[in-house]
């Protein structure tokens, strides 16, 4: 498949039993399109981290993807607490996750940096008390980086 394609996955906060299924489905869609493995790897990692943030912090959210021959764009929009200081949240090791989340091995403050490292472009918009939108783009016009 080479044309444009888009879709949406709905995410439920604290639903750890199904956490990761949206990014896993997205990975399957990318594989079907025959996108190079290295790009799929980067897109799946970024999607998983962004998905987990919604599961961990928000009440609910959605992951919307659009794939064109030029790029993969993924937008995660959530109803969550919002991020008061995005610069601080981007710092490796900074996390506001509660203890029980950390005991599961999440909340190590590496999620957003992992997204940034794997995406070609990352945009975060957040309103405290309303929610956060994380958008990342991975270019398909060159292989690897």
């Amino acid at each position: 498949m080479t044309g444009d394609e888009d879709g949406v996955f709905f995410l439920t906060g604290k639903d750890f039993a199904n956490a990761g299924s949206a990014s896993s489905n997205l990975k399957g869609i990318l594989e079907k399109r025959g996108i190079p493995a290295e790009i799929i790897r980067r897109a799946s990692i970024a999607a998983f981290e962004a998905e987990m943030n919604v599961i961990i912090y928000a009440v609910a959210g959605m992951m919307h993807y659009t794939i064109t021959p030029e790029r993969i764009k993924v937008v995660l929009q959530d109803m969550g607490p919002g991020i008061p200081d995005i610069g601080l949240a981007m710092q490796e090791g900074y996390s506001t996750a509660p203890d029980y989340i950390r005991e599961m091995g999440f909340g190590s403050g590496m999620g957003l940096p992992n997204i940034k490292r794997n995406a070609d472009k990352l945009t975060i918009n957040s309103v405290v008390g309303e929610g956060t939108t994380v958008e990342f783009v991975i270019s398909l016009e060159r292989s690897g980086r």
Binding site: G20, S23, I45, M52, F106, M110, G111, R117
Partner: protein, 113 residues
Amino acid sequence: MKLFELVESLSLDVKTPGADLTREVTGGYVSDLLSDVIGHAPEGAVWVTLQAHVNIVAVASLKGLAGIILANNRSPEEGTLRKASEVNVPVMTSGLPAFELVGRLYALGLRCR
């Protein structure tokens, strides 16, 4: 090294019957922080951890890891095994502590890169 050779050498207990143990293990990684594994574990690695919940399967599948070994006799949760069988991620357990386990994996020639 094939996964089944590793299972034999270290007397690992395979918790996912029917899982593909013929997979080539090309490295190793040890961590209990999921984002650390996502960021740094090499593809084809066997992952040593104490985390036993279902999300480790998603991480292993995402990263194309060869399998997960739970150290110190941690038992995987039921949901973990169900998911692992579904997506064909072998889950094994060992009575050895993580330090000891990783030492033996290293001695068998596995590296992190």
